[in-house]
């Protein structure tokens, strides 16, 4: 529904058809849903499979917004790199997600964190884990077992919580990764591209650099919806990872 409304409204304001945008946006949203469904599964590789499918779905929503063929351009996040794939043209270009890169460097540099290669490959996103400690985003009072910032996952490795709980909150964070991809691909990236077309320097940057601002958006929304359990993105992650 969000995909349909996004594509319908954007296409309408760009002078196109709300109906066309809505219909194809819904289709893209359905693909993204399937990606989330897959990502929440517990088998090895579920995360990377789900992320690619969901990113294709989110790309479809963006393409529908631009009245372009549904899968004419796919934006596929691979770690801190976004691959823009145009199947019809047979071209692939890469952009560096500066925000994700920042969090990746932070994860590597922070002595409390260690990169879990196995989970990283399985999740399709870098996964850093603590050694027996919970996470607290500075300025927040919530002690979390997992955090996701710009597609980088940070989880608390606490053996006392048991493996089942660890799998659940890892699946929960993978859903957040997909949500952030969706936000970035459907909303913030097109908005930044729109701005870049009007500012020459930004245009140059936009060719090489992407900004996944979704974490900041969700954090801002989170300050409005104070209760963790009332936040729609948390409810969705809880639903999928249950």
């Amino acid at each position: 529904m969000i995909g349909g409304l996004t594509a319908g409204l954007v296409q309408h304001f760009r002078g196109g058809s709300f109906r066309d945008g809505f219909t194809r946006g819904m289709l893209g949203g359905a693909v993204a849903y399937a990606g989330k469904r897959a990502s929440a599964e517990r088998f090895a590789g579920a995360g990377v499979l789900g992320r690619m499918v969901a990113a294709a779905g989110a790309s479809g929503v963006r393409n529908a917004s631009e009245a372009a063929p549904l899968f004419s351009r796919l934006t596929l996040p691979v770690g801190p790199v976004w691959l823009d794939v145009s199947p019809a043209e047979g071209s692939i270009t890469a952009r560096l997600d500066a925000v994700a890169l920042g969090w990746l460097i932070y994860g590597i540099a922070e002595p409390e964190l260690a990169l879990d290669w196995g989970e990283t490959l399985s999740s399709g996103a870098p996964v850093f884990e603590t050694d027996g400690k919970l996470l607290e985003l500075r300025g927040d009072s919530v002690h979390a077992a997992g955090l996701t910032n710009a597609g980088i996952i940070f989880i608390a490795d606490i053996p006392a919580y048991g493996t089942n709980y660890r799998e659940r909150y890892l699946a929960h964070e993978r859903i957040h990764v997909l949500q952030e991809d969706q936000l970035a691909i459907q909303w913030t990236d097109p908005a930044l591209a729109w701005a870049a077309r009007r500012v020459p320097l930004l245009r140059e940057i936009d060719r090489h650099i992407a900004y996944n601002l979704s974490t900041e958006i969700l954090r801002t929304l989170g300050s409005v919806i104070s209760r963790h359990g009332d936040r729609p993105w948390e409810l969705e992650a809880i639903f999928f990872a249950r």
Partner: protein, 257 residues
């Protein structure tokens, strides 16, 4: 690529913005989890019941718990020993807690033997497994007595064999006399400590009935905690003796009184 000459310039700004963004939004704090049982002692709760009818019951709940790193403690392989037998757990839950529920019949005079208990060994626990050797109580004389109305009741008993180590924190005994039919009510008495060699019940406290069921319960319990105190045992032992007392000529006597 035409953009090549601008690439470094293009990178400078996002790095600066990214760094500022991270600095502004703050990073992550790492907090020790507040897990109540983290590093807490392993615990074992045991109830042992035995009777002079030859029944023995063991009901043990073992919680190995978590070590200070949060890892579940495992067992060393030294089994639970109780009432002369080694026992394996009947159920093991995901959190590592184990339940031992056993009961059996034996031809041995189990109430007069030393009552032995030793908890299973647990890894990453410094204290020795809680263990004890307590004494039971046994009946002297027959289990069926004959008594005339108006006669006092004497029940000769003796403590069983055993070292009594460590000394139980609580020792109590209870005697209950009840009519076999339940019609004449019941009488009971109890005291702290071990029961006397002979339990004396004056005739006026004996329920007026043809047949009495008499039951002696000797209960001992303790909390066992050896240094450094990371393995705690709570043990309760219940020994029961039974008599049947026939009141000879009771019907005529009670009818005339």
């Amino acid at each position: 690529m035409g953009a090549g000459s601008h690439f470094l310039r293009a990178l400078t700004l996002p790095f600066a913005l990214g760094t500022c963004g991270l600095a502004g939004s703050g990073c992550i704090d790492f907090v020790e989890p507040d897990i109540p049982e983290l590093g807490a002692p392993a615990t074992v709760q045991a109830t042992l019941r035995l009777t002079d009818l030859g029944t023995a019951e063991v009901d043990v709940y073992l919680a190995p718990g978590l070590d200070s790193a949060g890892s579940q403690r495992s067992l060393t392989g030294t089994p639970l020993e109780a009432l002369g037998r080694a026992h394996q757990a009947d159920s093991i839950r995901r959190n590592g807690t184990r339940r031992y529920t056993k009961s059996w019949l034996t031809a041995r005079d189990i109430v007069s033997e030393p009552i032995l208990f030793r908890a299973p060994g647990i890894d990453r626990v410094a204290a020795a497994p809680p263990a004890l050797e307590w004494v039971g109580v046994r009946r002297l004389g027959p289990d069926t007595l004959r008594l005339r109305p108006g006669e006092d009741l004497y029940l000769p008993i003796a403590l069983g064999r055993g070292a009594g180590t460590p000394q139980p924190a609580i020792r109590q005994w209870f005697l209950r006399l009840s009519s076999a039919s339940g019609a004449a009510g019941a009488f009971g008495l109890s005291a702290d400590g071990t029961p006397p060699d002979t339990i004396y019940v004056p005739a006026r406290w004996i329920p007026r009935t043809n047949e009495l069921d008499v039951r002696l319960i000797f209960n001992q319990s303790s909390i066992l905690r050896t240094p450094p105190g990371d393995y705690i045992g709570v043990v309760n032992v219940d020994v029961r003796l039974f008599w049947t007392v026939h009141i000879v000529g009771a019907a005529a006597t009670w009818a005339g009184s």
